[in-house]
């Protein structure tokens, strides 16, 4: 199946359209809210919450026997919130550190969830098929009503975000200061946390409990590398998230046996990798290039400064000197000398070099600058 054919299929095929739309919306909303989680240094909270949601799904099923995903997700939401607040309670009331609290809640809730799931599977009357999808996510099971649900929640998230943008931003940057301005910081805090939990729960059916945290982090971590503005970061994260969803769906739809969750996560991770390496300001590649360039500039400056010291004592600045005398100086290499010639700073005649007018001026400037810096 080639790409154009697939795109056509996305618009004509009901199931594929639903799934693509669903994963795109999901990617956008998790990317958006994930930016806040990342900036609040709560990256791993997402992982704990998504695992903590599992028993909620199982209990909701046990109580209602319903397969309706909205009821199951409500259960997930409740148990996710309980997990979140328990984590806070542990950190606040005991001397256990936050990483221990996260790991505890994550594994204990997940284990309890698995106990319930296996218990449900052994029940004779259970129309339990489908609870497994919450482990790794199965986008294929998305219905139009699920997508509507996602769209509505995303809409609410977006409007709350726009409404309280200023408050979110200042709390994230400087919580104490926010308090002195008279804002109710606890309220803003609970608002952000609740929406993060909501976004996680929303994604469980599609991406699954195990990998949900990556959906939260990866688009945001990638977006952070390209911009220094919060609004741009949130926007980019939403776009990266949406694209991860669309591409991930496409790849997993065109292959057999592939759960959507892992593929979406891989796509999102590729976004991160590319951003880490190629981002123009923060990226590792350009950082390395800048590093090398700086080192070269430094060598060049050192050579110039050294030349200046030699020439200074002469009346005629263009008086030729032997290249040899540069040799016992560490900044000097053949290539730096060549570079100076190319810049028309020095001329070379056999094994002698001499400053041009321009070169002497540049060297004088540099020398004066250094003197100033040393003061």
């Amino acid at each position: 199946m080639d790409v154009t054919e697939y795109i056509k299929l996305v618009f004509t095929d009901y199931t594929l359209r639903t799934i693509t739309l669903g994963t795109a919306i999901l990617g956008a909303v998790t990317g958006m809210l994930g930016s806040f989680a990342v900036l609040r240094k709560q990256s791993l909270l997402g992982d704990a919450i998504s695992h903590a949601a599992l028993p909620g799904i199982a209990i909701a099923f046990l109580l209602t026997g319903a397969k309706n995903s909205n009821i199951l997700l409500l259960g997930a939401l409740i148990s996710g919130l309980i997990g979140t607040f328990w984590i806070r309670g542990i950190v606040k009331k005991t001397h256990l550190k936050s990483d221990t609290a996260l790991g505890l809640i994550l594994s204990l809730f997940f284990g309890f969830g698995m106990l319930l799931l296996t218990f449900i599977q052994k029940q004779p009357n259970a129309n339990q098929a489908g609870l497994d999808k919450y482990l790794f996510g199965q986008a294929a099971t998305l219905l139009e009503s699920d997508v509507w649900m996602m769209a509505i929640v995303t809409g609410i998230c977006l409007s709350v975000l726009l409404l309280f943008w200023k408050e979110f931003k200042i709390l994230l940057f400087d919580a104490d200061y926010t308090k002195t301005l008279g804002f109710h910081t606890k309220f803003i805090d609970i608002l952000i946390t609740s929406f993060i939990v909501l976004a996680i729960v929303l994604g469980l059916q599609t991406v699954g409990v195990v990998l949900m945290s990556a959906m939260l982090l990866a688009p945001a971590a990638a977006a952070r590398q390209w911009t220094n503005s919060l609004s741009m970061m949130v926007l980019l994260a939403a776009i990266f998230g949406a694209f991860s969803g669309v591409f991930g769906t496409a790849i997993s739809a065109s292959q057999n046996n592939l759960s959507t969750g892992p593929v979406i996560v891989i796509v999102a991770s590729v976004f991160v990798l590319v951003s880490f390496i190629f981002s123009p300001t923060r990226g590792l590649l350009f950082k390395q290039i800048r590093f090398i360039k700086n080192r070269r500039d430094l060598q060049l400056h050192k050579t110039l400064a050294f030349m200046y010291n030699i020439v200074e004592s002469h009346e005629n600045i263009s008086h030729p000197h032997a290249i040899k005398i540069l040799n016992n100086f560490q900044g000097y290499t053949k290539s730096t000398l060549q570079k100076l010639v190319r810049k028309n700073y020095v001329t070379i005649d056999g094994n002698m070099w001499s400053f041009t007018e321009e070169g002497f001026k540049a060297a004088t400037n540099l020398y004066n600058q250094q003197i100033n810096n040393n003061e």
């Binding site: 005991t94 790991g103 296996t118 790794f136 195990v210």
Partner: protein
């Protein structure tokens, strides 16, 4: 009890002990989430190992998977060093990516690999007794038992050999380095043991639940003691108790053994979290209330000592100036009276001799930063606590 049941419980106990030992150090070193990351990211290592060996219990597979665990740690640390993202984000980025690669590798080779992702996550302890180790025709027991037994033996050996180094580097990395114990070597040593244990145990209890067995017993023990040796012993006991009780709960409910063991760990933690004598929530809340009153009392006494003016020492002043509610003021006043710290005369409060002595001593301790001694002093002076 059949011999299979006995063997399952034995394996579960050994896994619990093998996890509790590195787990204690992970909790103390604030690296609990690293174990979560390792438990996920060993999956591709397991799959590749399985391609090569075709045997889930082969030592080579365990080695390969453990290497993936170390790779995770190295990768996380590399990303942290670049400073591009915050530290915890680095963990959260690495392990889902590696885990996804593993899941996809399994899915793409579903026909060749008889590996089930659910089984990797969850393990199936119930089947462990059926895969037996046969040495020259003689059945010497389940393979898992031997594997986890070996890992446990190595872990215990390392623990005894390097206990001093582990202890110093955990509580004071700087001191350890100055004494010549390389913190890096101990760090990676611990990571290696954790990885190997995770791999060895995943087949029994599943990768994610290894995390529970590592963190929960150690965290529970940490609420009961601060002493390393005791903490290790408590953690091991909690692990073993949960393993055995968990097995029987699973038996009774006919559900996942691993899930049930974790649930027992959870119940145990919840109980200790609530009821631990000093660090449990109830004890903490009680002490907070007591200390709030006692600090208030000290504040009040100090105020009396600072102000000789009668107006400042009037009972009503407590409400107005110190800004306390009526109930609190009354309980503070009562406590002071009960302890003979103050005298009430016509609603004017003044310090007794005992009150004077107590307050002077308290101020002295606070200013010289010897807060701990205030607690001892309270024992000397107080007839009734807050």
């Amino acid at each position: 009890m059949s011999s299979a049941q006995l063997e399952i419980q034995l394996i579960a106990c050994l896994v619990a002990i093998a996890c509790a030992i590195p787990g204690t150090f992970l909790v103390l070193r604030k690296m609990a989430m690293i174990s979560d990351a390792i438990s996920h990211s060993i999956l591709p290592g397991i799959v590749i190992g399985f391609f090569i060996t075709q045997d889930l219990n082969s030592p080579l597979l365990i080695l390969l998977a453990a290497l993936t665990g170390i790779l995770t740690v190295v990768l996380v640390e590399y990303i942290q060093k670049t400073g591009l993202v915050k530290e915890d984000t680095a963990i959260g980025l690495v392990f889902p990516a590696l885990f996804s690669i593993g899941v996809i590798m399994i899915a793409k080779n579903a026909n060749d690999v008889h590996l089930d992702v659910d089984a990797v996550l969850l393990g199936e302890l119930a089947f462990a007794p059926f895969d037996r180790l046969i040495i020259s025709g003689a059945d010497v027991g389940p393979k898992s038992l031997w594997i986890i037994g070996t890992i446990l033996a190595i872990t215990v050996g390392l623990l005894f050999a390097f206990f001093k180094e582990l202890k110093i580097s955990t509580f004071d990395a700087g001191l350890a380095a100055s004494l010549g114990f390389s913190p890096v070597a101990i760090h990676y040593g611990l990571m290696t043991v954790s990885s190997v244990t995770t791999v060895g145990a995943f087949d029994a209890v599943g990768a994610i639940l290894v995390v529970a067995l590592m963190i929960a017993p150690a965290a529970t023990a940490y609420l009961l003691t601060n002493e390393l040796k005791r903490m290790l012993i408590y953690a091991i006991c909690f692990g073993v108790c949960s393993a055995i009780s968990g097995y029987w709960v699973a038996h009774w409910l006919d559900a996942s053994i691993a899930g049930s063991i974790t649930t027992m760990l959870g119940i145990l933690f919840l109980a200790v979290y609530l009821f631990a004598p000093n660090k449990g929530v109830i004890a903490v809340l009680y002490r907070e209330k007591q200390q709030r009153t006692e600090v208030s009392l000290l504040t009040f006494l100090l105020h009396l000592k600072n102000h000789t003016d009668e107006r400042e020492r009037h009972v009503n002043h407590l409400n107005e100036h110190i800004n306390w509610q009526k109930v609190r003021s009354k309980s503070v006043l009562d406590l002071a009276l009960k302890n003979n710290m103050i005298l009430l005369d016509n609603n004017i409060v003044s310090l007794t001799e005992k009150g004077e002595a107590f307050t002077s001593k308290a101020i002295n301790y606070i200013i010289t930063n010897k807060d701990a001694q205030i607690e001892d002093m309270k024992d000397d002076f107080f007839l009734f606590r807050g």
